[in-house]
């Protein structure tokens, strides 16, 4: 009985912390901006659009913080909002056109400059850069849902349950998208 009360008090404290975390917008941005931006950038394949969506995401979260009940982590809630924004954006027909014509995709050179410095020799750095390019290309070839699930699983290290919550997909669907994404990327990497 005492254990149950103790657990519920801890849970309540976590919820209160999560809710109060939303009130400090600067701290919220500082903590979660990179994660949301990264996720949105690779989901849309357009870094300028991703900045705009990320900003909208934080605005929405801050304006709607009263509706956050603390039932999930703040990051889960933020990614859920970002997901909705990305989905809305991808539905726009004009976006489909401009995406092809004018997308400011993340350049592999820009990305490669953030590769771990342990790859000291020029040869190793070149190989690492090539692998990065392969993954980037493979990601672009995935369907929107496959890409989302893959990013959330491999880059953000969320569990399948959490991904299902964020994306609103059944867990088996999440698993299917994940397996297909891995197979596609594996296949793409094996081409070279």
């Amino acid at each position: 009985m005492q254990m149950a009360i103790g657990t519920s008090i801890i849970h309540l404290k976590e919820r209160v912390n999560a809710i109060s975390e939303l009130d400090d917008i600067d701290e919220l941005v500082r903590l979660y901006w990179p994660r949301v931006l990264r996720y949105v950038t690779f989901s849309t394949g357009d870094k300028d659009l991703a900045e705009s969506i990320t900003q909208d995401c934080f605005l929405k979260a801050y304006n709607g913080r009263a509706s956050f009940r603390g039932e999930c982590a703040v990051s889960t809630w933020l990614i859920g909002i970002a997901n909705n924004l990305v989905r809305d954006q991808l539905r726009l027909k004009k976006f489909q056109f401009w995406r092809k014509a004018n997308a400011t995709s993340l350049d592999v050179t820009e990305l490669a400059s953030f590769l771990p410095s342990a790859e000291s020799s020029p040869e190793k750095r070149l190989l690492a850069r090539e692998r990065t390019e392969q993954v980037r290309e493979a990601l672009e070839g995935l369907s929107v849902n496959q890409r989302k699930v893959f990013l959330l699983k491999f880059f953000e290290e969320w569990t399948l349950d959490e991904i299902a919550t964020m994306t609103g997909m059944p867990i088996n669907t999440v698993k299917t998208h994940l397996y297909r994404a891995v197979s596609a990327i594996r296949s793409k990497m094996g081409e070279r």
Binding site: I25, D26, V29, R30, W33, P34, R35, L37, R38, T41, F42, E51, T54, Q55, D56, F58, L59, N63, L106, E110, L111, A112, F114, L115, P116, A128, R131, T132, Q134, V135, R136, K153, F154, F155, L160, K175, L178, Y179, R180, V182, S183, I185, R186, M189
Partner: protein, 188 residues
């Protein structure tokens, strides 16, 4: 899955796509994991895949952390500019719209009430008009009374028996009476 996986491994000798994906994602299956450890080719492929994804993830993390966000004040300014250009959805803006609607409704009611009052007033005889009408009626009654008084005086005057004059002209009383106009009184 594990049974099928075992059969596939037995047939092909290596991990199937599903097993590979499961192992790479950390969703372990005992048989596949055992094979992954034992088979050098599968292990190498798993390591290559994991390494490439980790490298990419690390680079993506580094890139996103380098994109330091603007201060929130700057972001709000940018957002407000954007909201001015696009459709507004903020609460304060909604309140403003609601207040404008309420004011417009109040103005319509006020104008309507004024128009109604004016219309009502137009159908009712104003007190001044009533006073004017009463005065006018009064004047008319006085005028009629004056006229009647005048007629009576005339009748009295002409009804006097002026015998000398009648006699002088040889007129009879009956003829004289016929010749006299009978001035009637005006009635109201």
């Amino acid at each position: 899955m594990s049974h099928t996986g075992t059969l596939e491994m037995e047939t092909a000798g290596h991990l199937s796509d599903e097993q590979f994906a499961g192992l790479a994602s950390g969703l372990e299956c005992a048989e596949a994991a055992a094979h992954g450890l034992a088979c050098a080719q599968c292990r190498e492929e798993l390591e290559a895949f994991g390494g490439a994804v980790r490298e990419f993830g690390g680079a993506a993390r580094g890139w996103s952390e380098s994109r330091s966000p603007m201060s929130w004040q700057q972001q709000m300014r940018k957002a407000s500019r954007k909201q001015t250009a696009a459709a507004p959805v903020s609460t304060s803006r909604r309140r403003l719209v609601a207040a404008s609607c309420a004011m417009a409704a109040a103005a319509v009611l006020a104008v309507g009430a004024a128009a109604w009052t004016h219309r009502e007033a137009a159908t009712v005889v104003p007190p001044t008009a009533l006073a004017y009408t009463d005065g006018h009626e009064l004047d008319r009654a006085t005028e009629i009374a004056q006229d009647n008084a005048l007629m009576r005086d005339v009748n009295v005057a002409i009804s006097r028996d002026d015998a000398s004059a009648m006699r002088a002209y040889g007129l009879t009383v009956a003829g004289r009476q016929q010749a006299r106009p009978n001035l009637e009184m005006r009635s109201q």
